[in-house]
Each structure stands twice: as C-alpha cells, then as structure tokens.
Symmetry: C2
Subunit: 304 residues, 2 copies
C-alpha cells in the first residue's frame, strides 16, 4: 500500500498520513556530536553553559530540503505512537530517553503545502546523562561515540495509555521526515542549544517552543527534573538541573526544603565523595504514585 504513484494533484484528497515528531532535551550534547548554533556549525568544545540541547535531523528531500527538522517520521502499522517517538529518538541520538510524553497533535490542513495531508503527533522527551553513551558531564574530551544502540528501557512506563509489544516485520512507508537507522555519528544529525535554534522545517520551531514551555512548566510543578540525572544524585545536582531548565537561580535552602517536602526523594544513606567541600547526601527517586494521566497536576489543597 504505497501512495507514491498517486498524482500530485490528487494528494490533498487522500486520507491524512500520521507522523510523529519528537523534541528530545538533554543537558549536554554527547561528546563528539556535531553542534549547530544559529547556522554556524562547529564541533563540540568547551561551552558547559547551562542550557538545554536538542538533536535535529537535516531534511534530505523536499519540502524544506536541507533545513533542520525534529527527528520523526510516519508510524508503522505495528507501532504505538510512543514507539514511533522512541524509534526516532534512538535513530537521532543513539539512546533511549528517561521520560517521554505526548505534547500535542498538529493537524492543520495546510501544514505540508501541496503534499498529502499530514497529522503530526508531537512528543517530548528527556535524555539523561547516563543515557547519552558515556559522555563526560562537564568536559570536552572527544570520547568514544557510544556504540550499540543500547536497549535500556528496563521497566520504564510510557505515557500512552495502552502499550503493546511490537509484532512482525512491517512494510516501510515513504511519507514525512525520514528516520535514519544506520546508527553511528551522522552528519545529518546535529545538536543545537534550545536557546539558539535555527529556523526549523515545517512548524517545528513552534513545536519546540511548546515543548520547552511544557518542560519548564512540569519542572516547576511536577517531579521530572531528576530524569536528566542518573539513578542516584545529590540535591545540589538536582537544583542545578532546575536552574538550567528554568533559566534562573534557585535558593539552595528553600529548594532543599520544598523538594524534600514532596516526599519523593529517598535518602540512600550514602554520600557523595571527591568533592572539594562537605559531602552531600545521595538520594534516589521514589517512582510510586505516578499520576494516572501524564499531564495530571498535583491535587491542590481542598477545603473539608
């Protein structure tokens, strides 16, 4: 079932195609990755500035040929929407995100100009430092470009209400942004600071803005920031993540109290070592009581 032989003038009358686009956030680009900043391209060096990074994919066909776009592509017949999002992230960033959430469905009739009507379901994701191969958090060492698409989705829960195991071999569709599955550091994949994105293809700039707003919003009222970190972390590290995401300084004392008052952090009893100051307690995150729906908000105080 391929629409390639349908004449261009009939394409707008076809049933809409379904594609997924993903905004994947990381605290740092993986070491050795191609970095693009507002059109100027250079290799990753220095710059441990506290911004967020997003992997982009270069368009290899019209429309928007050569422009940067969000990773994504059409859903396969045997994939959930979340699975498609995961696959596109793995293809672009060579890792599996620690968090994935649906963002919005874009279905305007004019989104892809003359091409077939396209409905895009946007997702956003968080890539932990652990997930990104073996990147050194603060450094610029041109390390190994993490091999073997690590299948590390152990026991994680995606937001899609029902998730099915994949079935047999599917046929490939040909619509929308292509997903590169070759692995390996790809010249068509670049990492870009969320603060200085170039103009993206389609409406992907708007999607990215929306995703950034959602990430900031959830960082303020929900407990998601820890997913940028490993399984064990200090409150200071967590605070640094909040500051990077929110873009402003947070009082250490008040942050500590508020984050502990939520009751989601579990003291491991161990301490950080090797720091040039008083060692901090190490905490784990308690995954109990996940919200029923991905964008549910905490219950406000309600009068009796």
């Amino acid at each position: 079932m391929d629409f390639a032989d349908v004449s261009a003038s009939e394409r707008p009358y076809l049933p809409p195609a379904v594609a997924v686009s993903t905004v994947a956030f990381a605290l740092n680009p993986p070491s050795g990755a191609l970095v693009v900043e507002e059109g100027v391209r250079h290799d990753a060096a220095g710059e441990t500035s506290a911004t967020l990074w997003i992997p982009l994919v270069r368009r290899t066909r019209a429309p928007y040929l050569g422009r940067w776009a969000l990773p994504g592509g059409p859903t396969r017949w045997d994939e959930t929407l979340a699975d498609t999002a995961l696959r596109s992230i793995r293809a672009a960033a060579q890792c599996t995100p620690g968090y994935l959430e649906q963002l919005y469905a874009f279905g305007g009739v004019e989104r892809s100009a003359d091409a077939q009507r396209l409905v895009t379901i946007a997702y956003w994701a968080m890539l932990g430092e652990d997930d990104l191969s073996t990147a050194v958090p603060g450094g610029a060492e041109g390390g190994s470009t993490g091999a073997s698409t690590a299948e590390q989705a152990g026991g994680r829960r995606w937001d899609d209400p029902r998730v099915d195991p994949p079935r047999a071999d599917p046929p490939r569709a040909e619509i929308g942004a292509a997903i590169d599955e070759s692995g390996r550091a790809d010249a068509n994949v670049a990492w870009c600071s969320a603060d200085a994105l170039p103009d993206l293809a389609f409406d992907h700039s708007a999607i990215t803005d929306y995703a950034l707003a959602r990430l900031r919003s959830k960082t303020e009222y929900a407990a998601v920031a820890h997913r940028f970190l490993g399984p064990v972390f200090t409150i200071g590290q967590l605070r640094a993540v909040h500051e990077a995401v929110l873009g402003y300084a947070v009082d250490p004392a008040n942050f500590r109290r508020q984050i502990l008052a939520r009751g989601a952090l579990i003291d491991t009893g161990e301490r950080e070592t090797g720091s040039p100051h008083r060692p901090a307690r190490l905490y784990r995150f308690s995954n109990e009581a996940a919200p029923e729906f991905p964008d549910a908000r905490p219950q406000p105080r309600r009068p009796a």
Copy 2:
C-alpha cells in the same frame, strides 16, 4: 479513495485512519433531550442536581454495535482537527461550544481490534447554557427542541495553532463512528450524567475520565468556568458552576476575593434583578491575554 474493498485480513497493514472524538460538557441536558443513566433510559424530568452532562451517540455498526460512544468520526480532507470536533458536536448536540481544546491523541495498535489501525485525537468542549437552544436553566418544561443548527461561532478562537477556512465539497470517508447530520432530536443521541456513565465503546470511557480530570483541573487554575454561562453573570452563578464541576462546596467570600484578584472579571455596573435577596453585580469576562498555548498554566511567582 475508499478502503471498503480491501480484504479484512489486509486492513491492519493500512496506514492508520485519523478520527476525532469529543467529550462535550454541559451543565444541564437540553430540555426534551433523551437522557440515559447507567442503561436505564427515561425522559428528562426534574433532577436539577449539580452534575455535568455529556452527549453520547449510539453505535450503528460493528464493532460495539448498539453501545454508546462519544460523538466523532473521521476527519475530512479539508478540515482541521478542531473543525472535525466542532462538526461532531454540532451533529450530536445541535449547538456550537463556547470552548474547545485538544485532549490527547490515542494511537495504540490494538484499539480497533481487527479493523484498520485508528488514531483518535480526542477533544473536550464546554457547552454554555446559551448555546443549548433555549433550554430553561432550572426547569423541566418540555420546551421546543431548538431548531436550526445555530451558527454562533462569532469571533471565537479555537486552540489549533493554525486554522484555515474550509474549502470545497469533500468526499465522505466510511471509517469510525458515524456522524449523524440530520439535525433534530435523534433517538441515537442521548445525554448522560458524567457521574453515571454506562460502559462506552472503544476506550471512550477512559477518554471521558481524562476529559473530566482536565476540566476540573482547568477550573481550578484557569478561567474557563464562565464559558458554561452567558456573556454576563454574577459571581454567585460562577461559583455555582465551580461547585458543580469540582463536586464540592466553595466558600462564597473567599471565592469572590480570589476570582476578582485574577483581574479577568469586568464589572458591567448593572445588577441582577428579580432575585428574592440583595441584587448581585453583573460581570463580563475579559478575553484579553489568552494563553499562547491551550494548556499553558499561569506563571508562578519567580524570585528576582
């Protein structure tokens, strides 16, 4: 382009179809409407209990033949997703909602069993008392079943980032829940209390739960409740809406202060008349400063 002649065994391999389902909330069912409560069916009478009501459509084909389902159906080639939601609401409730917002995209692979893969974008909507024909707010008068699909979408903004004017006559697709466009009180349309819904077709019960959670959530942190009312209302009426939606009593004094502190209510200078007590001020709602994205939340106080 019709998939009807594709054999059933090939259907799961087709590209997914795109449909829309809508959860439309109203404070009261329209007078004269068919009311269904947990399978027991009877005409609307008395019962001005403070619950929310939702229009449902009976399935007229397999799967789930005969079960109640959310209004909806496939998107036409020339419609935005929001337009499809509007059309399905107009067909089921014979009115245009005062608010419409995208809820979630459901795309699990097994949602429609053996049928073609179906991606459903769910919307939720608020139907104002004004919108529902000429229903009497508190009463059970079997009044006129409001005629003529009133086109009253004057100057309202929908959430879809880009909205286009519809084009020419589209062909009809044949997948998913049928939309009845005959108008008139339909035996296949029933109103049901959100508290006592029967088991719905597909995953529509879960969608409804999600929509209800979102409505309650937005009622608490955003200013949406006024859309259940007319253009002018008293704070007491607005409080009654909050109580109906949230399901618990709200202190009148504190509610007044909080709602006024938001700065979105404009005193018209006029007063309510005919009430057996001190007349209340009448307010309008200020539509300025609509959020950039439909589910944006108010900015919390941020330290300098």
